[in-house]
């Protein structure tokens, strides 16, 4: 189906609303079987980019491709290849869960036994089979979210776009959703997902893109972004006999930033890797400081996000 080309491709995408640049020169690719996390503050342009990919909006310039088909030129071919899970719920009245899925299966051209099997499978996958005869307007938020996922995957698309799928879900529902997404990716689907819950994205995504004010600030794995940004490691240590002298000593070093001290505890950011951290520890001990504990950790996705973005809103 894919012939080696990426299943999702954004090429110099721009979208302006009057003078507001919602999306500005955004380009990236998602390969088959990859989960791509799209993160950014509110109003950064994530939803707009996803809506363009889902053929619900038109770019001002640039183009986006799904399985090699342009969303501008061939929206009809794109639609059959993607499942879109928006950040809002469907509010169809007087319709049951099974009828709702049956309708979308028909709308995607599934007929006869193929349609029945698809509905049955999706209900089982999303664990909605016990709710088949319930009206959809009586479902809880978590159930509606699962129904949305079911609707998006009813025609077995190779590409899935999920806008804030975990928003408002309880921890159990989030874990279940994460498992489902992992399973879909394992089956070779390309998944583009946006979320505010960065810890979850870090666990799920192979690649992340950080967007702010419509501009793509960084793309790659968390590690790659980390390294590209001259990454810093967070160091915590305990020094016996008070920390004032150590803080003064550390403050003279150029590779130490954001020093904080509370009693015997000292925390700082250090430019460098574990090797240079070991050198700092050696220097401290040689300088006569009585270091009782020393630990460090690489930056999390949250740290990277905070470092990359500036919290700017258009």
């Amino acid at each position: 189906m894919t012939n080696g080309h990426p299943l999702i491709e954004l090429s110099h995408l721009h979208r302006n609303f009057g003078r507001t640049r919602a999306v500005c020169d955004v380009s990236f690719e998602v390969k088959p079987g990859h989960v791509f996390g799209f993160i950014g503050p509110n109003g950064a342009g994530k939803t707009t980019s996803m809506r363009i990919l889902a053929t619900l909006d038109m770019p001002s310039s640039g183009d986006a491709f799904v399985d090699g088909f342009s969303v501008l030129q061939d929206p009809d071919r794109v639609r059959g290849r993607l499942g879109f899970m928006p950040d809002y719920f469907d509010t169809q009245p007087n319709i049951l869960v099974s009828e709702y899925l049956d309708f979308f299966a028909r709308a995607y051209g599934l007929v006869g036994a193929e349609r029945l099997r698809a509905v049955r499978y999706v209900m089982s996958f999303t664990k909605l089979d016990t709710l088949a005869d319930k009206p959809i307007d009586g479902l809880s938020k978590g159930m509606k979210q699962r129904l949305c996922l079911g609707r998006a995957m009813i025609h077995d698309p190779p590409v899935m776009i999920m806008d804030e799928p975990a928003a408002g879900l309880d921890p159990r529902a989030r874990i279940q959703l994460r498992e489902m997404i992992g399973q879909l990716a394992a089956d070779g689907k390309s998944i583009l997902i946006s979320s505010h819950i960065l810890t979850e994205l870090a666990e799920m995504c192979d690649t992340v893109a950080i967007i702010e004010q419509g501009r793509l600030l960084a793309v790659g794995t968390v590690e790659e972004i980390h390294q590209a940004r001259q990454s810093q490691r967070s160091v915590q240590l305990q020094v016996l006999g008070g920390s004032e002298a150590l803080v003064t000593w550390l403050g003279r070093r150029a590779d130490v930033h954001e020093l904080r001290a509370t009693g015997e505890m000292v925390e700082f950011l250090h430019d460098g890797d574990q090797q240079t951290e070991a050198d700092v520890l050696r220097d401290m001990i040689q300088a006569g400081f009585r270091v009782a504990a020393f630990g460090s950790r690489a930056k999390s996705l949250e740290d990277v996000f905070m470092q990359v973005t500036e919290g700017l809103v258009q």
Binding site: T55, M58, F69, P75, R79, E99, D156, D187
Partner: protein, 559 residues
């Protein structure tokens, strides 16, 4: 291999028990048939039949039907056996039927699409494999289903009126058929109205305006059926005029219905696709229908009936031209894939390809064609050829022999054509100039033309009306920029004496100048060439074609 394929391979559906009874077999056939139904129809039927609005309306209809049966018979008393009270009873039942059909059903159609677009449910449907045509036709089928169910509620009552005196079966059928057609027409207008999607604050006023229009339609239907029932002559089934009038109404209905449906469809179709060609073909179809029936009316009644065609065509092409000339000048690569390739194709099909220039050309050609047809001396042709002589009004042979064209109609039609060329052309130039700086919304484009018409017509009218000396003169040359008054004057009073020469010289000259100014952009559009399909599309098309027509299997070693 994808998730579904893998999993479905393992899960086989339980074998359905073979049908044993006739009912089971019938149900199996129905299930198979339902596979071919429009998915929107299936969904709408499920939703509508469960809705409170449907349940309440259906039971109210039943109650009203029974109520009127008891009340009507109580009022008529024993007279029901011998007096002609069938029409009275029928009219009561017709009110019970027509209200849901002409008010509730079309409003439900409007509300269904409008609400779906407001709460973005429509978006989720629009990104499925269903196109705008399928979505709209599914909704219309759902509406027809509701109509049939409502009809079934009062059907026994309508059948009962046939047993009464003073009413024939034909009148009953005709009243019901007219009402059903009217309901369907109002429903398609409701869908069209819903696609216009004004800002949220104006949606309520849009709904109110539509509801008022529906009550207007209901009142018209009531008056029409009342007229039918009270006509002492009854329905003149034997009269050919009756059938001709019905045929005319049907063709106008089909033409108007197609225009409304295709406009709604183009509103819902993605902008990158061709949203214009089908609508243009329907416009030409509407013009042909108008020309045919205007010619028929001219042959039948003679006189100046044909001037109605001049006026109607001017309104049609000017109104359509406003939207056609407002189309984007840049064709999407998708549209360019289907442009005519040959020179002959470009000459005859370019008018139908999207673009403001080709839209302008279509409107101008439509007006020119109407001018040539309207000016034909129909009665003389009929007399000479004796082809449709029975329809023609007999009259004296024209003095001076056979005329090629009717001068008075020709003059009026040329003036009307010139106005269309001038006003649409100037509007198009203004929009092209504004379009260099900012993107114009469709409402702004309509506004440009409206302001232009208001300036051209309103300023001289206000000037003449404000001058006591000029006010009493009627039409004067001050109104040369006023297309409405000038065309009206030419069509219904003849070309004004003394002004004819000036109008005949100035307007065609101005039209030529405006047409010339629009030529460069028109040439740009006409010289666009077809672009090839993107490789990915060509690759998929080839794969699909191979799937449809597999290569023939080798039947011998020499193949």
């Amino acid at each position: 291999m994808s998730t579904l394929d893998q999993s479905l391979r393992g899960t086989e559906l339980p074998e359905a028990a073979p049908p044993t009874t006739r009912w089971d077999r019938f149900e199996t056939v129905l299930t198979r048939f339902s596979e071919h139904l429009n998915p929107i129809l299936v969904k709408e039927a499920r939703q509508a039949l469960r809705s409170r609005q449907f349940t309440v309306t259906f039971f109210l209809m039943l109650a009203a039907g029974w109520g009127w049966s008891i009340l009507g018979l109580a009022i008529l008393g024993p007279g029901v056996y011998y007096s002609s009270d069938g029409p009275t009873m029928f009219y009561g039942y017709h009110v019970v039927l027509a209200f849901p059909l002409l008010v509730i059903v079309p409003y439900a159609a409007f509300h269904s699409l409008s609400a779906e677009r407001q709460d973005r449910t429509y978006e989720l449907v629009s990104i499925t494999s269903l196109d705008a045509r399928q979505i709209l036709s599914g909704k219309l089928c759902g509406i027809m289903l509701q109509m049939m169910i409502y009809l079934s509620a009062v059907f026994p009552c309508l059948a009962f009126t046939y047993l009464l005196r003073g009413l024939d079966i034909f009148t009953i059928i005709l009243a019901v058929v007219y009402t059903c057609f009217m309901s369907l027409g109002l429903s398609v207008l409701g869908l069209l109205f819903a696609t216009l999607s004004p800002p949220r604050q104006r949606q309520i006023s849009q709904a109110v305006i539509f509801a008022v229009a529906l009550f207007g339609g209901f009142w018209i239907n009531m008056s029409m059926v009342f007229g039918m029932l009270m006509d002492s002559r009854g329905i003149m089934v034997e009269s050919p005029e009756f059938w001709q009038a019905n045929l005319a109404a049907l063709t106008f209905y089909i033409s108007g219905f197609s225009l409304a449906f295709l406009t709604a469809r183009s509103q819902l179709t993605p902008v990158s696709q061709n949203r214009s060609t089908a609508l243009r073909v329907a416009l030409v179809g509407a013009q042909l229908v108008a020309v045919y029936w205007a010619a028929w009316a001219q042959l039948r009644w003679g006189g100046n009936v044909i001037f109605g065609l001049v006026f109607a065509s001017t309104v049609l092409w000017y109104y359509a031209g406003i939207f056609l000339t407002g189309e984007s000048g840049t064709l999407s690569p998708r549209v360019k894939r289907d442009l005519p390739q040959t020179s002959l194709g470009r000459v005859f099909l370019a008018w139908f390809t999207p673009g403001p220039g080709t839209g302008y050309l279509l409107a101008v050609c439509g007006m020119i064609a109407m001018t040539l047809v309207a000016a034909l001396p129909f009665n003389e042709i009929a007399t000479q050829l004796r082809v449709v002589a029975p329809l023609a009004v007999p009259g004296p042979a024209p003095a001076g022999g056979f005329r090629l064209l009717r001068a008075d109609v020709l003059q009026a039609a040329i003036i009307a054509t010139c106005y269309v060329i001038i006003y649409l052309g100037i509007g198009k130039l203004i929009m092209a100039a504004i379009g260099r700086f900012t993107e114009l919304r469709p409402t702004a484009r309509v506004l440009v033309h409206f302001v232009l018409l208001l300036l051209g017509g309103g300023i001289p009218w206000t000037f003449q009306m404000s001058q006591p000396v000029l006010r009493s003169y009627g039409y004067t040359l001050w109104q040369i920029t006023n297309p409405v008054w000038t065309i009206w004057e030419c069509c219904y009073k003849g070309v004004p004496v003394g002004a004819g020469g000036v109008l005949g010289a100035v307007l065609p000259l101005a039209a030529l100048v405006v047409l010339g100014l629009n030529m460069p952009s028109l040439t740009d559009e006409l010289t666009q060439v077809r672009v090839p399909k993107p490789p990915r599309v060509a690759e998929e098309d080839a794969a699909l074609a191979a799937l449809k027509n597999p290569a023939p299997a080798r039947s011998s070693p020499w193949d």
